[in-house]
C-alpha cells in the first residue's frame, strides 16, 4: 500500500454508471451500519463479495439536486491486518495497489470513529490512511461522550488529523446534511500533510498526541450499562435472566406466531378455493392448487415465524444483550470447540436453519463458521413440526401419559432436545476435524454499552433478511414442488384406462391415488426401495421422503395424496389403515411403531431442504460443503433410523 497516492479525488474506478463510490469503513460498534442505513435508506442491495461468504451491502444516496453516489458498507474491522474473511475483504476493497482485481476500489472513504472509543479507533484510522484514499472522518456517539462527561474539541481534532471531520448523531438530521454537503465537495477534501506512522510503537504515540491536542477527556464508564450488567451478568441472577429470555424467545416464536400463521393458511385456503371455483381445466386446476398454491403456501406459512425470529434477534442485538448472551454461553460453547456467538447462530436455527446459517457471519473464525453451518440443520426447525406432529399422533394416543406428563409432549420435547444436542456434537466434531493446522484465532468480544435499538436499523435488518429468505426459499420450493407435482401426476391416465383397472372415476381421491401409484415418482420410489427396505419404509413412504426434499412439511401433503385420503391435509385416519402391499411383510400395518420411530429419527437427521442446501452453498462458497452435509446427514439418518427401528421393535 503506497502512502503517496496522487492528490485530489484520485478516482480509481467507478461503477459502469460512472457514479462516485464511497466506502463506509470502521470497527464494529462504531455506528457504521446505522450511518449506512441512514444514508441509503432501505434502498440497499445485498449480495456477496465474489468467491467468499461475506455479505456485501451497497446503496445509493442523493447529495442534493443532481448528484447521486454509491455508498458501500464494508464489514466492520479492527485492523487492516486481517484475521478473518470479513477483514480480508476490507483490505481487498481498499487495495489501491490493485493486487486484487475482483472488487472495485472506492473513490473515497467515510471512516466511522466512535467518540467513546477513540483511543482504539484512531489506530484503525492511521492504518486506513496508508491507502492514500481521500478520507472523511464521521464522528459518532458524541452524545454518549457528552453524557459520560468525556470531552473532545472538534476543530482541534480536525486540525490534528488533517482530514474533514463531520459529527453525526444517530437520529439527528443535521449531521447527515452536513455529511452529504461534505461528500458533494469530494475534490476539496484535505489530506494529512504527513500520513500517520505505521509502526505500532509510533502509532500509539501519534494517537496520544492527537488526542492531547484535541483536549480529549476519557468518558467515564457508562453508569447505566454498568448497573444493568451487574444484574444481567450476575452469576446467579444473570443466568436466570438468560434462561427466562430464552424461554420467552421460544414462546414468542411458537405461540405468538401461531395466529399469524393461521391467517396465512386461511388466505391460501381461500385462494385454493378460488382456483377450484374458477379454473375448470382439470389438470390446470390441480396444478395451480397443489403445486403452485400448495408449494408457495407451505413456505409463506412460515414467514410470520421467521420474520418474528428476525425481529427478536435484531432487537436483542440492537440493545446489546446478544453480546451478553454470547458471553454467558461462551464457556459451554468452548467445550464444543466453538464460541459464544455460535450459540446465537444455533439459536436462530430453531425456527429455520437458513437464518441460523446466515447468522454464522458474525463469527470471525472461518472454521467456526463452517462447523456451525454443518450443525445448524440438525436443530429442530419449524418445517419438521408438521411431520413430527403427524407421526407422533400416529404413534401415541392423545391421552397417553408418561408419569404426569402427556406422552406426546414428552416425545416432542425429546425430539427437540436430541436435535439440539446432535447439532452441538456435530459442530464440535467438524471443528475438531477442520481445526488441524493453522493458528487458533484468539477469542475476543466487545461488550458494547446498552442502547435503545434504532428502529430504522431493526426494520431494515428484518426487511433485508426476510426478503432474502422469501426470494431464495420461494423460488426453490416452488421449483421443487412443481417438478414433484409433475412427477407425481404423469403419465396422465385416461378414463378408460382407469375404469379398466377398477378405479371409481367419480371418486377424486381414488383417481388421484391411482395416478400417483402409477406415476414416474412411483417408479422412482420403487427403484430406491432397496435402500429404505431395512427401515421398514415402502415405496409410498419413499415418495413422501423424496417429496420432502423440497421442504419437509410437504411430506404430510404428499403422503396424504398417496394414501388417497379424503382430506390430504389430515391423512392420519387413512394412514393408520395403510398396509404393506407386497414382499415378505405383506399385510402388516405400514405405520407401526418401529417404522414410525425410524421415520421420526430419519426426519430428525436427514437434510431434506433444498433451500438449506442452496444457502449452504452460498455461505460456504462452494458445492463441496453442502454435498458433505447432505451425505453425512443422510448416512447418519439412515443408521440411526435403523437403530431406532431395531430398538423399538425389540421393546414393543
Amino acid at each position: 500500500m503506497t502512502a503517496d497516492h496522487c492528490g485530489g479525488a484520485g478516482g480509481v474506478s467507478t461503477l459502469e454508471t460512472g457514479l462516485t463510490r464511497f466506502a463506509v469503513v470502521g470497527s464494529p460498534n462504531s455506528g457504521k451500519t446505522t450511518l449506512f442505513n441512514a444514508l441509503t435508506g432501505l434502498h440497499a442491495k445485498t449480495g456477496n463479495y465474489p468467491g467468499v461468504t461475506v455479505a456485501r451491502y451497497e446503496g445509493t444516496t442523493r447529495l442534493g439536486e443532481h448528484e447521486t453516489v454509491v455508498v458501500e458498507d464494508l464489514p466492520g474491522t479492527y485492523s487492516l491486518d486481517p484475521i478473518s474473511p470479513d477483514e480480508q475483504i476490507v483490505v481487498d476493497v481498499l487495495d489501491t495497489d490493485h493486487h486484487n482485481e475482483r472488487v472495485d476500489v472506492p473513490d473515497a472513504m467515510l471512516v466511522t470513529l466512535n467518540a467513546t472509543t477513540l483511543r482504539r479507533s484512531l489506530g484503525l484510522l492511521a492504518q486506513l490512511q496508508q491507502t492514500g484514499l481521500p478520507t472523511c472522518v464521521v464522528l459518532t456517539f458524541t452524545d454518549d461522550l457528552a453524557r459520560r462527561n468525556g470531552k473532545l474539541d472538534i476543530p482541534s481534532f480536525t486540525r490534528a488529523l488533517g482530514v474533514p471531520v463531520v459529527t453525526v448523531v444517530a437520529g439527528h438530521r443535521d449531521g447527515l446534511a452536513d455529511l452529504r454537503h461534505v461528500m458533494s465537495r469530494l475534490d476539496s477534501w484535505t489530506q494529512p500533510v504527513v500520513s500517520p506512522p505505521t509502526d505500532p510503537a509510533e502509532v500509539t504515540g501519534w494517537v496520544d498526541s492527537v488526542l492531547d491536542a484535541s483536549g480529549y477527556q476519557l468518558p467515564e464508564i457508562d453508569k447505566r450499562t454498568h448497573r444493568i450488567d451487574s444484574v444481567v451478568l450476575h452469576p446467579v441472577i444473570g443466568t436466570v435472566i438468560f434462561l427466562l429470555t430464552m424461554f420467552a424467545f421460544f414462546q414468542t416464536i411458537f405461540t405468538v406466531a401461531a395466529p399469524l400463521q393461521g391467517y396465512v393458511e386461511s388466505f391460501f385456503g381461500w385462494l385454493g378455493g378460488l382456483v377450484a371455483d374458477h379454473v375448470h381445466i382439470g389438470w390446470l386446476s390441480a396444478f395451480l392448487s397443489q403445486a403452485v398454491i400448495g408449494g408457495v403456501g407451505s413456505v409463506l406459512v412460515f414467514v410470520p415465524q421467521i420474520a418474528l425470529l428476525f425481529v427478536l434477534i435484531a432487537l436483542l442485538e440492537g440493545t446489546g444483550y446478544l453480546a451478553r448472551a454470547a458471553f454467558l454461553m461462551d464457556r459451554v460453547m468452548a467445550r464444543a470447540g466453538l464460541e459464544g456467538r455460535a450459540f446465537v447462530a444455533l439459536l436462530s436455527s430453531f425456527a429455520c436453519a437458513i437464518p441460523g446459517i446466515m447468522a454464522t457471519r458474525s463469527l470471525p473464525s472461518a472454521k467456526d463458521r463452517l462447523a456451525t453451518m454443518m450443525g445448524a440443520p440438525l436443530m429442530t426447525c419449524s418445517a419438521r413440526l408438521p411431520v413430527y406432529i403427524l407421526l407422533v399422533s400416529l404413534l401415541l394416543p392423545g391421552d397417553a401419559k408418561v408419569g404426569w406428563f402427556n406422552a406426546r409432549g414428552v416425545v416432542m420435547f425429546a425430539l427437540y432436545l436430541f436435535g439440539a444436542l446432535s447439532a452441538m456434537l456435530t459442530a464440535a466434531l467438524f471443528k475438531k476435524i477442520t481445526a488441524r493446522g493453522g493458528p487458533m484465532l484468539p477469542f475476543y468480544m466487545e461488550m458494547p454499552p446498552y442502547q435503545v435499538p434504532r428502529w430504522r436499523n431493526v426494520i431494515s435488518e428484518v426487511w433485508t433478511a426476510t426478503s432474502a429468505f422469501l426470494r431464495k426459499v420461494t423460488s426453490i420450493i416452488l421449483a421443487t414442488t412443481v417438478v414433484l407435482w409433475v412427477l407425481l401426476n404423469l403419465p396422465m391416465r385416461s378414463e378408460s384406462e382407469m375404469t379398466a383397472a377398477g378405479v371409481d372415476t367419480g371418486n377424486a381421491a381414488a383417481v388421484s391415488a391411482y395416478v400417483i401409484d402409477h406415476s414416474y415418482a412411483a417408479s422412482v420410489g420403487k427403484a430406491v426401495q432397496p435402500v429404505f427396505e431395512p427401515l421398514g419404509f415402502d415405496w409410498r413412504i419413499n415418495i413422501g421422503i423424496l417429496s420432502s426434499l423440497a421442504a419437509r412439511e410437504v411430506f404430510v401433503a404428499t403422503l396424504g395424496q398417496v394414501a388417497a385420503a379424503e382430506d390430504p391435509e389430515q391423512p392420519a385416519q387413512a394412514l393408520r389403515q395403510m398396509t404393506v402391499q407386497d414382499g415378505p411383510h405383506a399385510g402388516r400395518t405400514l405405520f407401526d411403531a418401529p417404522t414410525i420411530a425410524a421415520l421420526l429419527v430419519f426426519f430428525m437427521y436427514a437434510l431434506q431442504c433444498m433451500s438449506t442446501v442452496a444457502v449452504l452453498r452460498r455461505e460456504s462458497g462452494s458445492w463441496k460443503w453442502p454435498a458433505v452435509a447432505f451425505t453425512y446427514m443422510f448416512v447418519l439418518a439412515w443408521v440411526l433410523a435403523f437403530v431406532a427401528r431395531t430398538v423399538v421393535a425389540a421393546l414393543v
Partner: protein, 197 residues
Amino acid sequence: MIGIHAERVAGDDHVVRWVVPAGLLTAGRVRRAPGRLGEMLREGTFSDVLTENSAVWLWLRDGLSWSSYGATVQSALREALADPDDWLVEPAPGEVLERVTADLLAGSVGDFIRSHGGSVSTHRSGDTVTVRLGGACEHCPAAGMTLRGRLIGELRGRCPDLVEVDRDGRELTLTLDQYASRKVRDSHGGPSRSGSE
C-alpha cells in the same frame, strides 16, 4: 513514550508544524539535533527549524516534498526527541513569537476578530512582536480586553514564557523571556545550561 503528530500550516506547503510533548525543548532556532534528524539538518534537508514550547516547525528545502520525506522526518524527529538535551536551540524569540501569533490569528482568534469586522496585523522588530487591532476594533472599548483576554491567553498557552513589553490600547508588544524559558525547561528536569544564570 514520545508522541508527535503533524499539522498543516495554512498557506505554506513547505512547512509542517509538528506537535510534540510540551516542555521538552526551549523556543528558538534549532542549530543542532541528535540522530538522523541532526544529520538531515546538517545535510541541508531543512531550510529552517524553529521550536516553540510544544511544537517543532520544519521547513523543507525547496524542491523537496513532504509526501516523500514525511515518514522519514516523522521517525527521525521522534527519535531525536528522546534526547532533548542533545539539541542546541538558539533563542529567537521574535521569530518564534511571530510564527505562533500568525498561526493563532489564522485560526479561531483571528476568526473571532474578523467576525466583529475587525482586522489584525503583526509586526516584528528584532526580538519583539507588535500586534495591532484595526478596522471596527479600532474604536471599540472592548478591544483591549480582546487582546489581553483571548490572544494573550492563547499565546501563553502555546508559549509559557510570554512577556508583555508594552501595551497601548489596541497595540500590544510582546516577547519571549529567555530566562523564563530556561526556568520552564529546568522545571521539567533537564540540567541547567552552563553559563550565566
